[in-house]
């Protein structure tokens, strides 16, 4: 059984790559978002690029509970369960890279800025499109801080069927989102420019 967003789901309820691939293909793109990250290159000639629109929260909204942090905590629980279930080889090969950059980095660490809209472009790889679509879904509506806390392992744990040979797609997607978050942070006036790939193995 898996815990996600406070619900208990049967294993079969995990998201499928195919579902998010189709969703990513069919969702209308949002043109002209003001913040665009770099086009981040990955393995096999793949690349991804995220763009964002962020908004500063008012004083009242800042006092509310942080649902995004709760969501990410649930994601960490899923990662732990998935790691427990996976083979030792997969844990060593994929989990190390997938957990890279999942610590308390300061990329996009602007807790009072909300991501209103997210879009992306990516190479036509079924797994890459699926993880980018899921990542956009998770980031949309949350704070920049919570978006920057999403790790490749969180993303992989959202799916039931990503083979370990394709885990690098999640790493690429997260690196691309973090690049956009860095740009957004600069737009927000909190300029500190770590590399977009800091802590993320691609």
């Amino acid at each position: 059984m898996l815990q996600d967003k406070g619900c208990v789901l049967p294993k079969s309820a995990k998201r499928s790559v195919h579902h998010y691939y189709l969703k990513g293909l069919s969702r209308p793109r949002v043109a002209g978002l003001p913040v665009a990250g770099e086009s981040v290159p990955g393995r096999d000639g793949l690349s991804a690029r995220f763009s964002l629109r962020v908004r500063e929260l008012g004083e009242d909204a800042r006092a509310g509970p942080d649902d995004d942090n709760a969501r990410n905590s649930a994601g960490a629980a899923i990662v732990a369960e998935r790691a427990e279930a996976s083979s030792a080889a997969s844990r060593e090969d994929a989990s190390d890279d997938a957990h890279a950059g999942s610590s308390d980095e300061k990329i996009g660490d602007c807790p009072h800025f909300v991501i209103d809209e997210v879009d992306y472009t990516a190479s036509t790889c079924v797994v890459l499109l699926a993880v980018c679509e899921r990542l956009a879904e998770r980031a949309r509506g949350g704070t920049m801080a919570s978006a920057s806390a999403i790790s490749p392992a969180d993303l992989i744990a959202d799916f039931a069927d990503i083979p370990s040979a394709k885990f690098d797609r999640a790493i690429l997607a997260v690196a691309a989102l973090r690049s956009a978050l860095i740009k957004a942070r600069e737009h927000a006036g909190d300029v500190s420019s770590p590399s977009h790939s800091e802590g993320v193995s691609v």
Binding site: S16, V17, H18, Y21, D44, G45, C125, V126, V127, A130, A160, D161, I162, P163, A165, K166
Partner: protein, 112 residues
Amino acid sequence: MKVAYVFTTQGHTVSYKLGKMILPQLEEGRHGVDVVGMFFFEDNTYVLRKGDPIGERLAKVARDKGMLLMGCDQCAFERQIADDLVEGATIGCFPDLYGALGGNPPDLVISL
């Protein structure tokens, strides 16, 4: 001569041409060429599902002869079998196929 098979048409492609001709010949060592790889599209990908009688025999041949077994990744995800394949089988797209065959390229690629 080295060949790679791409199973792309539906119908009896897998159950007949592969299951009753190619695979028995490979098992008996009388196919006549070295098969370096097989790639499966659409419903043909089901043959790679764990427990499939033809797929399991194919996996043994692939293991013994160092033959590539790869299913189309999009086809496998759509059919929800990507994480349930016979031992040694992988999924991928054209770049993965070319990359996997690059070290032992076929002389001919035959589409069935």
